[in-house]
């Protein structure tokens, strides 16, 4: 195995492959940073280019685009509170407050280093533990997926500490909105309100662009702020962040990366779920969880390491079982098939050179990402020096084309504007756009797996057996209960602190 790894590394280090990795990373970061352009779209657009290359070079480029795009989503999440990709939703929780506090350089460097770390951990799992993890993925059936979604949704209670009722309402509204369109079981149109095109359902990305981006533009322009945030280039931010992450965040980065890898392995569960679960876990294990959401490095490091770790995870079932763990992995699998390579356990023996070149190139890509990202950060952070009136208008144009590009549909543009208004007015009355986005993302997966589990229970004759007896389900149920209890306790403690502060103020 070590021989193959060495040979793979030598292949990956060929000048042409290095060039492809850097070009792919740069393109991926730009694509990821643009709202509406996803990693899937970036990789899919570049697949035809790989047909003229040898399979290993093609895969190296696609892997670099994938890694770059997942990381790139954090740039816009931090700078304009608009997640460039769905997996950067949790990045807004602390990234945006850091940016507003004049710490954009620290935030951008944290997301870069954490992403590279997560990517490396995910790839190491892919390299050394692919087979056992692929078998674990097979143990996830509908009930386990359902509980995983419920565990993800329990984050709402955590993220809305101090405003739990409205957080729950926001999450439920998101879940309800996600039921618009065809019913996943019977294929019946639901909740179209007499407007037939809604049968296509609510596409997650336009809804998110609206909730985070368009509503933010209305807010920024209306607030008459001259700039989005105070920004002065901060020399030495990179090394300061490295020291901080090394000193305080080793555990957070490791835990979040492992969560990201495991969630990534599960087909259908991607960076958006992983980053939210990792964020929630970091908050739960922190001595002072109330700091989360106020703009701290730890929160940002959790979400960014987790979402990039899903890349290695999602490639595990794709390479070992021929089951893609994400939409991007599915596109990459298509590219492999075009080259006549069939994924499966045998890929490591029959096409070992290709497999190990690809995997080791991902290690290299994550190292290169730090270099390429550091250069790009210097340019992207300057967005903050452009007056709000220009940035706001440009973001509207980008949001519109980004929403349209998903399905080439003007309906998605209208959905984006609608959710922009919902996000704007919702936040004025204390609703939580993050919780709503979470509901929209997790709703379809939760409902589909609930329905499948109920069908299984019908056939099996026992709801209890289907939902509550598998060890994975039990672990997820325990984690969900712990998550809710911790949030409740935290909420009570916070209430106590507020009461104490009020009383001491009176005294």
């Amino acid at each position: 195995m070590w021989e193959q790894i060495g040979a793979g590394l030598i292949n990956a280090l060929q000048p042409f492959n290095l060039f492809l990795a850097i070009a792919g990373l740069t393109g991926g970061i730009i694509i990821g940073a643009l709202p509406g352009l996803t990693a899937t779209m970036g990789v899919a657009l570049m697949v035809p280019l790989t047909f003229a290359m040898d399979p290993a070079s093609g895969l190296i480029m696609l892997g670099a685009i994938y890694s770059g795009a997942i990381y790139g989503g954090s740039n816009s999440a931090i700078l304009i509170n608009t997640p460039g990709t769905p997996s950067a939703v949790a990045t807004t929780f602390d990234g945006w407050p850091m940016c507003r506090a004049g710490k954009a350089d620290e935030a951008l460097n944290t997301s870069l280093i954490a992403s590279a770390f997560g990517g490396l951990v995910g790839t190491l799992f892919l390299l050394f533990l692919a087979a056992p993890l692929a078998r674990l993925a097979l143990k996830f059936g509908a009930p386990e997926f359902f509980w995983l979604c419920i565990f993800g949704l329990s984050t709402i209670a955590a993220m809305s500490t101090g405003n739990v009722f409205k957080g729950l309402v926001s999450g439920a509204l998101g879940l309800l909105v996600s039921t618009i369109g065809l019913d996943p079981i019977e294929g019946v149109p639901r909740f179209t309100f007499g407007y037939y095109p809604l049968v296509q359902g609510i596409e997650v990305i336009p809804a998110m662009i609206g909730l985070f981006s368009f509503s933010q533009v209305i807010n920024l322009v209306g607030s008459r702020q001259k700039y989005i945030a105070d920004y002065k280039p901060n020399p030495g931010a990179f090394m300061r962040v490295v020291r901080k992450l090394w000193k305080d965040c080793k555990m957070i980065l490791t835990r979040s990366s492992i969560i990201g890898t495991i969630v990534g392995i599960l087909p259908g569960a991607g960076g958006e779920i992983a980053s939210i679960i990792a964020y929630n876990e970091s908050k739960r294990w922190d001595k002072n969880p109330s700091r989360y959401g106020t703009g701290i490095v730890e929160g940002l490091a959790s979400s960014e390491s987790a979402n990039n770790a899903t890349i290695g995870g999602s490639l595990i079932p794709m390479l070992c079982l021929g089951i893609p763990g994400s939409a991007v992995a599915a596109v990459m699998m298509g590219a492999l098939l075009v080259h006549g390579i069939t994924p499966g356990f045998k890929i490591f023996t029959d096409s070992g050179n290709l497999a190990y070149t690809f995997i080791t190139s991902l290690l290299l890509v994550n190292v290169l990402m730090v270099l390429v990202g550091s250069i790009l950060i210097k340019g992207t952070a300057r967005v903050l020096n452009v007056p709000t009136s220009y940035i706001g208008v440009a973001v509207v144009a980008l949001s519109i084309i980004g929403s349209y590009a998903i399905r080439n549909s003007m309906l998605d543009v209208m959905i984006m504007i609608f959710f922009g208004l919902v996000g704007y007015f919702g936040s004025r009355i204390g609703l939580d756009t993050g919780a709503m986005a979470l509901g929209i993302i997790l709703g379809p997966i939760a409902e589909e797996n609930l329905a499948k589990s109920l069908a299984l229970a019908g056939a099996d004759g026992s709801v209890f057996k289907v939902f509550f007896t598998s060890p994975i389900s039990l672990i997820l149920i325990i984690l969900t209960v712990l998550s809710v209890i911790t949030s409740w306790l935290l909420s009570r403690r916070r209430g106590g602190d507020v009461k104490e502060a009020v009383e001491s103020g009176r005294a």
Partner: protein, 149 residues
Amino acid sequence: MAGRKADLIAGVASIVVALLFGFQGRELSLASKIFPLVLEVFLVLMGAVLILRGLRGSKEQQGGQEQIDYTRAWLVVLASLVYVAAINYIGFYVSSFVFLTLLSWFLNDRGRNLPSLGISTLFGLLVTGALYATFWLFLKVPTPQGLLF
């Protein structure tokens, strides 16, 4: 917005949305509506809690909200709607150029004079050019078509 008023509005909105979905889904089979039905019931209950809390005086924490110039806020929304409507008729790139130029000129802090119109025109050209290069030339992503471009 004051906590009480915000709670009342959030509570009423939550119940109205739940009832709207409930009414729309009244003819669905149980299998199709079980998941949304649970959510509708939950929203009605939560809405009632929020309304009660609003009537009694909210205890939850309300974040401080910035003062908003609603004229500018609504202008962005209306201009965006006009922009979206125009895309269908005159095409994405021309509409984008006009939208970017006029709205950035109208919103800028230097006043609506000829020099600032010049800067906004340059800004409109640059951003439209960047959109064209990214979406059309490089990524080959289709953009909405109209009479012009």
